[in-house]
Symmetry: C2
Subunit: 233 residues, 2 copies
DNA sequence: TTGCAGACCGACCGGTCGGTCTGTATGATG
DNA sequence: CATCATACAGACCGACCGGTCGGTCTGCAA
């Protein structure tokens, strides 16, 4: 009992000063990210994960109380990276179009950096496996949350909310079409994430690995143009 | 027990004469589609499925030799519906823009008709669970297929190929931007499918069920405008 | 030197997994 | 009537599942 670990990254206000990476824990998260991304929650066994990390299964349960806790930690880890990428981008400078470009480019670059992230995000948004479905707290119609939100859901809600604000400012200024923000957010997220989750299908379509340097730099141009075209007035 | 009505649509009464669909088989496919869509391949057990269908587990194995065969049949079933929707649309009439609109609208309408289809498609495109990854036969760089293609993969390849041809004609006529077709296809597919796979997230964003009549009719307008804006010159 | 905490292992638990085997009720066919 | 295929049910199998338990080893502090 009394398991919840106090020691962890300062969650959000990162910058630097990462104190103590206990190595094993990070390695578990790193390997688990890859496995969960490709196999899904129930497609990955703790024994398999332990073997690939190079630890015993019990060691995993020493670091994470349950499999679900591990899965949540993995999800939160990639969301932290996305948040970090956004914080480092100029998403608050210039007109809404420039902000949109910075936003899109930051997400694309973050997703391009580690391959499993895109698939994992797509799973988190679509899957219903460990937990019923992801939630964002209050919906657009103001329905109150019917259950406790998980850490990564709060983080995701923050990201979505920030993007929704950008959209609404752009619409108010007349730079963007008067789109329903819900549909627009889903369009953008789907476009951004699906490419990096498309794996071999994407490779077959673009003719090379979707994570190769040339494919990513082409992607940065194309997705920006596509989304601008879809949103601008 | 034994509540679900036996009445079933003749699945795809297109063209040919389907002889005698033994009812149970269709029922299994119908229930399995819902379960696989929300739980994923390895998140659904044959016992659970059997219980929900109202049959014994052995009955499932009587109709489908393995779980993977059942999964493939379920995937192929929704692809057949999408294909059917496309065949019934005016995707060969008018200029490329009109064809694009018809194409997009046909897919949206098909996906809006049964809720699990979108999630299942997203899974089929992203998951790596039962089979390594989906393939389309020859890639854009002309690599030959390294393994036997499954039925639904052939069907998917046909659909993608037809859409790629539409894109290229539009580009040749100067109506579409000179986009790399691979990226463009991924953009369109991601935008089209993700909405209907977004579940509670989508509901929170659009403020009502993503399958409600008003949400779907709004979606038809919005996605069409978004994709046209992203593709047109 | 003692004591305690974190990291880790191997064995084991009840339960579930996909899949097989045997048997049987039913309806069509000869 | 006998025969045979279809369409199921129920018992069962070995493998594997997430999770727990007792115990070991190491490092650090008193």
């Amino acid at each position: 009992m009394m398991i919840l670990m106090p020691a962890n990254s300062p969650t959000s206000l990162d910058d630097e000063v990462e104190i103590r990476p206990p190595d094993s824990r990070d390695k578990i998260l790193e390997v688990a990210e890859g496995l969960f991304a490709y196999g899904g929650y129930s497609g990955v066994g703790m024994r398999q994960l332990a073997a690939m990390v190079g630890l015993s299964k019990s060691a995993l349960f020493h670091h994470f109380p349950t499999k679900i806790d591990l899965y949540e930690a993995v999800l939160d880890r990639v969301l932290v990276r996305i948040e970090h990428g956004l914080n480092g981008a100029a998403i608050h400078e210039g007109d809404p179009v420039a902000q949109l470009d910075a936003w899109v480019d930051a997400v694309v670059c973050t997703l391009a950096e580690d391959a499993p992230a895109g698939r994992l995000m797509m799973r988190a948004l679509v899957d219903e496996e460990p937990f019923p479905a992801i939630s964002l707290g209050v919906g657009a119609n103001g329905a109150e949350p019917d259950r406790e939100l998980m850490i990564f859901e709060v983080r995701l809600a923050g990201i979505v909310e920030r993007f929704g604000g950008l959209l609404e400012r752009g619409i108010a200024e007349g730079v963007f079409r008067a789109v329903p923000t819900g549909d627009a957010i889903l369009n953008v997220v789907g476009t951004l994430v699906f490419y990096f989750a498309s794996g071999d299908l994407g490779e077959a379509l673009v003719g090379e690995s979707i994570f190769s340097h040339s494919a990513v730099s082409r992607r940065r141009r194309e997705v920006s143009q596509f989304i601008r075209g879809g949103l601008l007035a």
